[in-house]
């Protein structure tokens, strides 16, 4: 039995927990043309929860490809194919839990809350992160080999726990590795990537897993049959709408990110979101595929947003990163990003 006070002062130093979740993840990409080869495993992973032991599944459709992030159980379902690209690392999801601390003055949600405490320090230590925001929470994926650096970097700020078989075990630096091995490449100044801000409005939503069967046909339609021939990704003008749809089923929780056009195809009363019903705009980061080794990309975006206390969701995919910001803040965000690109040296 523990008595806990959520009074700010008492736990001012460390009122945040960082959980290293019990999933070992692979980041893969399925090409648009090769999707037909993977419909069976994808349908199984999405709809037949009881038939698979996969506990972490995320599928994001972008104009370029389908990014599938899934745990090793789920990965077994995907047969190797020329259409399947697999990032070689094992990724571990991190999750920040604030200890019921309501004192934070910021009303912002998403990566903004962890920009300074997690993302910036990791960027400084040259740890590459893969972000996955859902309706429920934000997952920070790091490579398994970087874990010791992550722990030693974040130990100052967080109580770190590793989840093993449903138990949270406290983790300290020495548990992870004997010595601190730093990622090199100190001097490299992060590249400032071009951004793209499409016009469509997005919503972040959730769904009762029990009602998933009732939207199955719509979901299949949106996921697999959306790219009609007329909408060739290469030809779509950059300032127009960009196809983006994300579905994730993680530990039994469903999260959906879709534009308003896709949302209209779903029954109105089944999907739910925040009572404020806010809409989001997307900022796509990267002109060329970003790869998995470069670090500081998320920090580049999240830091200025945090400075301005603007909420943001952030979804990395195989090729590009995507930030979602509130619709009402898009103007200031655009200004800020343009400013950043005009003065790259100061960032």
């Amino acid at each position: 039995m523990q008595e806990q006070s959520s009074g700010e002062e008492l736990f001012a130093t460390r009122n945040m927990d960082l959980h290293i979740l019990d999933h070992r993840l692979r980041v893969t990409s399925i090409s648009k043309n090769g999707l037909v080869n993977f419909t069976h495993p994808l349908i199984k992973l999405i709809f037949l929860r009881n038939r698979t032991r996969c506990k972490f599944f995320s599928l994001t459709e972008t104009p370029e490809n389908y990014t599938v992030v899934l745990d090793e159980e789920g990965f077994k379902e995907l047969r190797p194919s020329e259409h399947l690209q697999v990032e070689s690392s094992i990724w571990l999801p991190l999750n920040v839990v604030s200890n019921g601390n309501a004192s934070s003055s910021s009303q912002a949600v998403g990566v903004t809350k962890i920009a300074k405490s997690v993302i910036a320090p990791l960027a400084q230590q040259h740890v590459s992160v893969f972000m996955l925001s859902t309706y429920q929470t934000d997952f920070i994926l790091v490579k398994e080999k970087d874990l010791s650096v992550v722990v030693s970097t974040l130990e100052e700020e967080f109580n770190i726990y590793k989840e093993e078989g449903g138990e949270s075990v406290p983790v300290h630096c020495q548990d992870v590795s004997n010595g601190l091995h730093k990622n090199g490449r100190e001097a490299i100044q992060p590249t400032v990537h071009p951004v793209l801000i499409p016009k469509n409005q997005f919503c972040v939503m959730s769904l009762d897993p029990d009602t998933l069967p009732s939207i199955a046909t719509t979901l299949i339609d949106v996921l697999f049959y959306s790219s009609s021939p007329k909408e060739d990704p290469q030809s779509s003008p950059s300032q127009e709408c960009v196809k983006f749809f994300s579905f994730s089923l993680i530990d039994g929780y469903i999260s959906l990110v879709m534009d308003t056009e896709a949302q209209r195809q779903f029954p109105a009363d089944l999907l739910f979101t925040s009572s404020s019903g806010e809409l989001w705009r997307m900022v796509r980061i990267g002109g060329q595929p970003l790869g998995f080794d470069e670090c500081g990309i998320v920090a580049q975006i999240s830091q200025p947003l945090a400075d301005s206390d603007i909420s943001a969701y952030y979804i990395s995919t195989f090729s590009f990163d995507h930030a979602l910001v509130p619709e009402e803040d898009i103007v200031s965000v655009t200004d800020m990003l343009q400013h950043q690109r005009n003065e790259p040296a100061t960032s």
Binding site: M1, Q2, E3, Q4, S5, S6, G7, V97, S98, N99, G100, N101, A102, S104, Q107, V109, G110, K113, Y135, Q136, T137, D138, G166, S168, S206, D208, D210, T211, Y253, D269, L270, F272, T273, S274, S275, S276, G277, E278
Partner: protein, 884 residues
């Protein structure tokens, strides 16, 4: 209850209504099957009850959980938690109720939509409704809504910083401001208000159980655990809480909340519901997925969780209310141990009452008691004296009565013991007569061992070993053919003689001494007892028809005599030995119609061929002793042992005490007695009977020892301590080996030697306690010091005299009791001098002084001592229930 999985809720106030919720809400009324039969559409729930569907509500889709408003008014108000986290108030079949109307349709909307997992109404402040939600980022997961809160947003003081777009606050029925927000950054899976304080809310959060206090919401008490589902507080024991995780139930005590007080055995399938029985303390019902049984855990004996040292005992059992798989169940709020069960599919309902385990207690005085649920039944033997009871009294009652009438203690006229036993039991009568004959024969032999010396082996053992063994050794048998007495007609009946046969006849009681075959004494005694038929039969078997006729005539003329005996006498007088006579023919067929067995065997004897007397020998209503005596007279050496063996076996199997005549007090006799005890439970008779046996193997038999010990225990249980003592004395006389050795010694405080032992070591005297004024006259001897070291014995705490000094005068006896017999008074006086002391404080003194002290006091007589000596003795306050 998600999707198709149903749940049941009983109305908190209508004992006959419940709601089933699956995709919709259905209100049912339960009633007896007869009255409901008239209406169509009733669903049978059990053999006696049926349910009628009263109303359906399908206004609220995506229901996740439902809770019934706990107060009387409005009576059918339900809160429904939905998949998107909204809580809607709804109602069933209450259209006219205005109080309800105001609330129905009211919605409580969380800031961020996510599943509502659980709902709980505050049992006291029923305006408060707690909702447990899934986790959403940094939002709160436990929201407490005030259902009476004014709907307009402006009245909600200090509106929180919710950025509400105007999209959904269209209607005035939506409340978005909870009264309390708890459990930030967490998920809530189950909730219950604590009954010990309605301001406390217990919540099963993600990986911890937390207690929130509404008076100080910044504080919470929590314990990390996985067992966070289905938290429920025991309605009978407000500090006890159950929760579960997958297949395991954890029981918590809120006063010792660090870890579960116990965890129940894990089930292979995940649990779906755990509920305390509201009508019975400590009964927990659990249900697992895909199961058709409900497991019950009875935790009656675990009221306090005093750590590990008191390992609680739980009785686990399962009940199967119906064939199909169970979706959910709900205990009836008031009807004892009753529940309604709904199947996992098709909404098949079953009304089911868990049958209580029955506990039974049987007192040593025949009354029987059993408890079932809240009922206590007592079964007492009908002891109406005057009425001739149809049913025989219970053996325990009989034994008690017999113990009081000193049954078994008449060691001189042993046969009289059957009179002490009430004189009604034929078997006991036979038994005690057998023992009487055995004892008198053996006694006689000890005195005059003249011709019996010829018998092989130990005389006594032969006598004790029963007729079966006596006839086995028969030798030198002579046969004789005699005339009918008083007639010169020769009989063709062969009669056999031998010493063994003669001894057997004596044991049967037919003849009294020597080889004299005269039965006249026996006949006279039978006549005295008005056993006319038996006497006539004995006379006839001794070939004295005239005497037999004479006896029958006498019987017919006697008071209340049966005149038919004259008719029998007449028939008897017509006896002819001609084989083909009409007399013979008629007698042999009509004899079977005679009711009296002795009359029957008389004619059987007369009409049968010589040597073939089955009609006599196998007439089971004739006393065994008479049949055996008959056999000894008329069966030859080959037939006799065969017949006796057969009869012995029959008696042993039936446990018939008459068979003791045949078996004697041998191992065979113990076998027979064993089946008698098995049949009747009469350890009393068994004990007394076997004590009469010659000391030796019979008494050593473990069965005999068992009967004796049981009889002693029985006497103790009846608090017949004096009877027990008497029995032990009696036993000690007959079986000296049973006398217990001294177990308690009084040792000297100074030298540590036993004061009685040390005197016995003094060679010239074998002194016992008698010297210490314990026995004999007070003036006889005074030893007040240890014989070993000559130091004084301790002093009596009351009279302050050294022990060994006799009690001066018996203060207890009043003047009126002066005529009490002196022996008894003497004995008491002796006991008054006895040493006694408390094992706890070690103070003591003369027994008489102590007894009178503790009659009025509870504390030790030594002034500084606060020991409650008498209360330490559990039997000290009991009073013997026999009076001697």
């Amino acid at each position: 209850m998600s999707g198709s999985k149903p749940d049941i809720l009983w109305s908190p106030h209508h004992p006959d209504r419940y709601v089933i919720c699956d995709s919709e809400l259905g209100l049912y009324r339960i009633g007896p099957v007869g009255s409901a039969e008239a209406k169509a559409g009733t669903l049978p729930l059990s053999e006696e009850t049926a349910a009628t569907l009263l109303a359906i509500n399908s206004d609220t889709p995506y229901m996740k959980c439902v809770a019934w408003y706990p107060k009387h008014e409005p009576e059918c108000l339900l809160a429904v938690g939905q998949a998107n986290g909204r809580v809607v108030l709804t109602s069933l079949g209450q259209s006219h109720n205005s109080a309800c109307k105001e609330l129905v349709g009211k919605e409580f909307v969380p800031k961020h939509a996510r599943q509502c997992n659980t709902l709980a109404w505050n049992p006291v402040d029923s305006n408060l409704l707690a909702a447990g939600l899934d986790k959403h980022r940094a939002d709160f997961s436990v929201l407490i809504w005030d259902i009476s809160s004014k709907l307009s947003p402006e009245t909600s003081v200090a509106a929180e910083k919710i950025r509400l777009s105007s999209v959904d606050l269209d209607s005035s029925t939506v409340v978005t401001k909870p009264l309390y927000e708890l459990g930030q950054n967490d998920a809530c899976l189950s909730l219950c208000w604590l009954l010990r304080d309605p301001k406390l809310l217990l919540a099963g959060m993600h990986r911890n159980l937390a207690i929130f206090d509404l008076r100080n919401t910044s504080q919470k008490t929590f314990v990390n655990t996985k067992a966070i589902q289905g938290v429920t507080v025991d309605p009978h024991f407000h500090d006890r809480v159950a929760s579960f995780f997958e297949g395991q139930v954890a029981i918590w005590d809120l006063r010792k909340f660090e870890k579960p007080v116990l965890t129940l055995t894990e089930q292979p399938k995940p649990l779906t519901k755990v509920a305390w029985c509201p009508t019975r303390t400590g009964l927990l019902a659990t249900l697992t997925r895909d199961s058709n049984i409900i497991r019950l855990y009875d935790m009656q004996h675990t009221p306090t969780p005093i750590g590990d040292e008191t390992e609680p005992t739980i009785i686990e059992r399962s009940v199967q209310p119906c064939e199909s798989q169970i979706g959910s169940f709900a205990w009836h709020p008031s009807s004892q141990n009753r529940m309604v069960v709904v199947s996992a599919t098709n909404r098949v309902m079953t009304d089911f009452t868990v049958f209580e385990r029955i506990s039974l207690a049987w007192s040593s005085t025949t009354s029987l008691m059993w408890a079932c649920g809240r009922h206590l039944y007592e079964c007492v033997e009908d002891s109406a004296e005057g009425v001739e009871s149809m049913i025989e009294k219970d053996i325990a009652t009989k034994m008690r009565e017999r113990a009081q009438s000193r049954y078994g203690h008449d060691t001189v006229q042993v046969w009289r013991n059957h009179l002490l036993a009430g004189g009604k039991d034929a078997q006991l009568k036979s038994l005690w007569h057998d023992l009487f004959y055995i004892l008198s024969v053996s006694h006689m032999k000890q005195c005059a061992e003249d011709m019996e010396l010829k018998l092989q082996g130990n005389v006594q053992s032969v006598v004790y070993s029963g007729i079966k063994n006596i006839v086995k050794t028969t030798s030198g048998t002579t046969e004789s053919r005699r005339c009918w007495i008083g007639s010169d007609r020769q009989t063709d009946v062969l009669r056999y003689h031998s010493e063994e046969r003669c001894l057997a006849l004596r044991l049967c009681g037919w003849i009294s001494r020597g080889t004299d075959t005269d039965v006249e004494n026996f006949l006279r005694s039978l006549e005295q007892e008005h056993e006319w038929e038996r006497a006539a039969a004995v006379a006839l078997f001794n070939l004295d028809i005239r005497r037999a006729i004479q006896i029958l005539n006498k019987g017919a003329m006697a008071e209340k005599g049966d005149l038919n005996l004259n008719v029998v006498a007449m028939a008897l007088s017509g006896y002819t030995d001609e084989k083909s006579s009409l007399w013979r023919e008629m007698c042999s067929s009509l004899r079977l119609q005679l009711k009296n067995p002795y009359l029957c065997i008389m004619f059987a004897f007369l009409t049968s061929e010589p040597g073939a007397y089955d009609g006599v020998l196998y007439e089971s209503s004739v006393a065994v002793r008479d049949r055996v005596a008959f056999a000894c007279m008329f069966l030859n050496d080959a037939q006799l042992p065969r017949y006796i063996d057969r009869l012995t076996l029959e008696m042993k199997e039936a446990g018939n005490l008459e068979g003791i005549l045949l078996t004697g007090l041998t191992k065979d006799g113990v076998d027979l007695m064993e089946s008698y005890v098995d049949r009747t439970g009469d350890v009393q008779t068994a004990s007394f009977c076997m004590l009469k046996g010659s000391p030796g193997e019979v008494l050593k038999d473990p069965r005999v020892q068992c009967w004796i010990e049981n009889y002693r225990n029985l006497l103790d249980a009846w608090r017949f301590w004096h009877k027990r003592a008497e029995f032990d004395i009696h036993r000690g006389k007959l079986d000296p080996s049973s006398k217990p050795l001294a177990q308690v010694f009084v040792s000297c405080n100074f030298c540590g030697k036993s004061i009685s032992y040390s005197c016995s070591t003094i060679p010239h005297q074998g002194r016992g306690f008698s010297q210490y004024g314990v026995s004999g006259s007070p003036t006889k001897s005074k030893v007040t010091s240890c014989p070993g070291c000559r130091k004084p014995l301790p002093r009596c705490a009351l009279c302050l005299m050294n022990m060994g000094t006799p009690v001066s005068n018996c203060q207890g006896t009043g003047k009126s009791d002066e005529k009490v017999d002196l022996t008894r008074e003497n004995k008491l006086a002796q006991f008054n001098n006895w040493f006694t002391w408390c094992h706890n404080c070690r103070h003591g003194g003369h027994a008489g002084h102590m007894l009178s002290w503790f009659r009025d006091h509870t504390e030790c007589p030594v002034s500084a001592c606060t020991c409650k000596c008498m209360q330490l003795d559990t039997t000290g306050n009991l009073v013997p229930s026999d009076s001697s």
